[in-house]
């Protein structure tokens, strides 16, 4: 009897939790299909009637809010920083894990101290420097900043490389392989899950970041989706909902496909931190 009560109680809680997490998402999704754009025409939480008009408007009515352009900008920035950032991060993590050199410990300590500075401080400085040199309003500038800072978060990846046994390396070395060959032909293929994780995180960060684009992109046509959606008028709720659903969808799908990698990545970062 007691056990049954306990089970019922547990499920009750679970339903509440699921509701709490799911309801805002459902609200947003339904709002994106609403017929009228303004939030004032809703009945409580949900729209009175549904249609696909908002999505149609989102992609065709580009005079004020050029969503397709924003979307392409975001895609460009996110893919660029994903490729470059993953490359740099994996290289850094691998060297930090495998090589013993004099500057290793000081470098690890330096990155730790640098991580303590509020990220904003650097951004204000980047903003000031960029305005000083007239480098504002360039998408590639964003890519460089995202990718350039990416190696700072190498610890999770280093933790992964630490778990690949060194015996394999030694064996290859005896067979006459150079360090470059060991990296390219042995460790890189083994690190595939970690590369996927790194690529995912370095893609989603620029995809959903708003501070840096807001600082550095002042022209409406260069906006990323995050900045663009922020600039929407308050009456454009349905458009906001549609734009959000459209940009959140790919990320959500990616997360669900790679949830195993994500969990492993988080856990590793935690233990080895």
């Amino acid at each position: 009897m007691r056990k049954k009560l306990d089970t019922a109680w547990t499920y009750g809680l679970l339903v509440i939790v699921a509701f709490i997490f799911f309801f805002p998402c459902l609200w947003l999704i339904l709002a994106s299909f609403s017929k009228s754009g303004s939030i004032y025409s809703f009945e409580g939480f949900f729209p009175k009637s549904y249609s696909l008009a908002t999505f149609h408007k989102l992609f065709t009515d580009t005079k004020m809010y050029n969503y397709p352009r924003w979307f392409l900008n975001t895609l460009f920035v996110a893919s660029g920083s994903c490729i470059l950032g993953t490359f740099l991060t994996i290289l850094t993590a691998y060297t930090m894990s495998r090589f013993q050199f004099k500057a290793r410990k000081p470098m690890m300590k330096t990155t730790m101290v640098l991580g303590m500075f509020p990220s904003f401080m650097g951004m204000t400085a980047v903003y000031l420097l960029m305005t000083q040199f007239g480098l504002i309003n360039h998408l590639w500038g964003l890519i460089l900043i995202y990718a350039g800072g990416a190696p700072m978060g190498y610890l999770t990846q280093k933790g992964f490389f630490d778990t690949i046994p060194r015996a394999i390396d030694e064996a290859a070395k005896i067979d006459g392989a150079t360090n470059l060959q060991i990296f390219l032909q042995i460790n890189l293929p083994l690190a595939k899950p970690m590369i996927v994780y790194t690529a995912l995180t370095s893609f989603t960060w620029p995809w959903s970041d708003f501070v840096l684009p807001k600082l550095l992109l002042k022209e409406k046509d260069l906006y990323t989706v995050a900045v663009g959606l922020m600039s929407l008028d308050e009456t454009e709720f349905a458009r906001f909902a549609a734009g959000s659903v459209f940009i959140a969808l790919p990320i959500v799908i990616l997360y669900f496909c790679l949830v195993k990698n994500m969990v492993d990545g988080i856990a590793q970062g935690a233990v080895k931190g």
Binding site: Y40, E43, F117, L229, I266
Partner: protein, 439 residues
């Protein structure tokens, strides 16, 4: 220290004239002992360094200290000094000097090594061999070069720039073409004493600390509780239940925040419900809504952060030592006792670094109140509102209102607070002291 001194003594006594000459003319030692190419490279370095110094280096370093002496004057057509460019070029000159010093020392060391090799009758290492070693023994140099350059330009340089700015009067009316000056600790004094900044600073700092503690504790226990709930034996279809928090986790933060802002706005669904049930609309996030806005902030932050903590805790919970729990059950320990005596110590041990990261992340949580309330300025606050954290104030001051130097000083204070807390946790926490208690 003593051995260094001894090395130096040996070097002075043991080195030949050519090696000593390379302290004056870089590369001399290398050329004398047959490593001609390397010697010439060092010589070229010295020459270009001298050229750089004569043409710009010296004036750049002087400019670093003066930050400009000639104010621009459009009437008489005088092109004045741009203090900020001078500051940046000054930093750049210092970096060049540091790099040069490094190569200078390498040059003397290398020359001495060349001498030793030739005395032993060994052949010198050529440039080709050195380059080949980049692919093998010195692979790390090749690989790290690019990331290090990137981090230096996009992380370290901006941080150095901002630290220096904190000690100038840059900002407000004093932006180029006006001349900026070094002012020492004035900005910090202003923050702590001046009636314009000090009250705001005190209020924001205390709310910021309260916020960081509350939100971290709330997120952590809610996440842990959720993980324990999902981990219960009686729960079937765990993947299904877990999907809901993961959905919340996957949605970009700014979307969540903007959506919640709409939800709690005047015309939002919650107020519509209140009105339709005969109430009056309530400004949850309004100017005078101090605590309701703060509590909504806490809860929304919880909604965003709990899923990641749950995922993490789930991973750790599956690593627990089950036999401990069985033993505890046999000894008659109840569920609460098991939780407090076994689960909590283990979890805290395993997640201290994450907890610390969470705390610092929350301390510097820019997004929450920027999106929920965004840019409200209140009476009794200088360019801030009662929900703003230091980081929001920093943004208002330096990006929206050009108070660059005050903003930089606040950044440094944030850095001091977070690094002190981290250091204390780092030294005191069991996961650093007793690494193998639980493993």
């Amino acid at each position: 220290m003593k051995s260094k001194w001894k090395q130096w003594k040996n070097f002075i006594q043991g080195s030949t004239g050519a090696v000593k000459l390379s302290m004056l003319v870089m590369g001399a030692g290398h050329i004398r002992y047959g490593a001609v190419t390397k010697g010439l490279i060092y010589l070229l370095m010295e020459v270009s360094m001298i050229v750089y110094f004569v043409t710009r280096g010296l004036s750049d370093i002087a400019g670093f200290f003066t930050l400009g002496t000639q104010k621009a004057d459009a009437w008489s057509g005088v092109e004045g000094d741009n203090s900020i460019v001078m500051l940046i070029m000054g930093i750049f000159a210092w970096i060049v000097v540091a790099a040069f010093l490094y190569f200078y020392i390498q040059n003397v060391r290398g020359a001495y090594a060349c001498q030793k090799r030739s005395q032993k009758g060994l052949p010198q290492i050529g440039v080709k061999q050195e380059l080949a070693s980049l692919l093998d023994q010195k692979f790390y140099v090749l690989v790290l070069a690019l990331p290090v350059v990137g981090v230096c330009i996009f992380n370290i340089l901006p941080i150095i720039f901002m630290i220096l700015i904190a000690f100038t009067n840059y900002g407000g009316k004093i932006v180029p073409p006006e001349l900026v000056d070094w002012v020492g600790l004035d900005n910090f004094k202003k923050l702590l004493v001046l009636s314009k900044f000090a009250p705001t600073f005190g209020k924001i700092l205390s709310w910021n600390l309260l916020w960081a503690v509350l939100s971290t504790a709330l997120n952590y226990f809610a996440g842990l509780g959720l993980a324990l709930l999902l981990n219960k034996e009686c729960v079937r279809g765990k993947a299904f239940w877990r999907a809901f928090p993961i959905l919340a986790y996957a949605i970009p933060g700014f979307i969540t925040l903007l959506a919640f802002k709409f939800m709690f706005s005047y015309g939002g669904p919650i107020n519509q419900l209140i009105v339709s049930h005969g109430g009056t609309a309530f400004g949850f996030l309004d100017l005078d809504a101090k605590w309701s806005a703060r509590i909504i902030g806490l809860l929304v932050n919880c909604w965003i952060s709990v899923p990641s903590i749950m995922l993490l805790a789930t991973g750790h919970l599956s690593n627990r030592d089950v036999t401990l729990y069985e033993a505890a059950k046999m000894d008659g320990a109840g569920r609460w006792k098991q939780f407090w005596k076994l689960t909590m110590p283990y979890m805290i041990f395993a997640t201290t670094p994450v907890l610390l990261g969470q705390f610092i992340g929350n301390f510097n949580n820019f997004g929450i109140f920027y999106f929920l309330r965004g840019g409200l300025y209140m009476d009794g606050y200088f360019l801030a509102s009662d929900t703003d954290l230091l980081i929001n104030w920093l943004y208002n001051l330096s990006i929206d209102n050009n108070y660059y130097s005050i903003g930089a000083a606040i950044s440094l204070i944030i850095f001091l607070i977070t690094s002190t807390i981290s250091l204390i946790v780092y030294v005191k926490s069991p996961s650093y002291r007793e690494e193998d208690t639980f493993q």
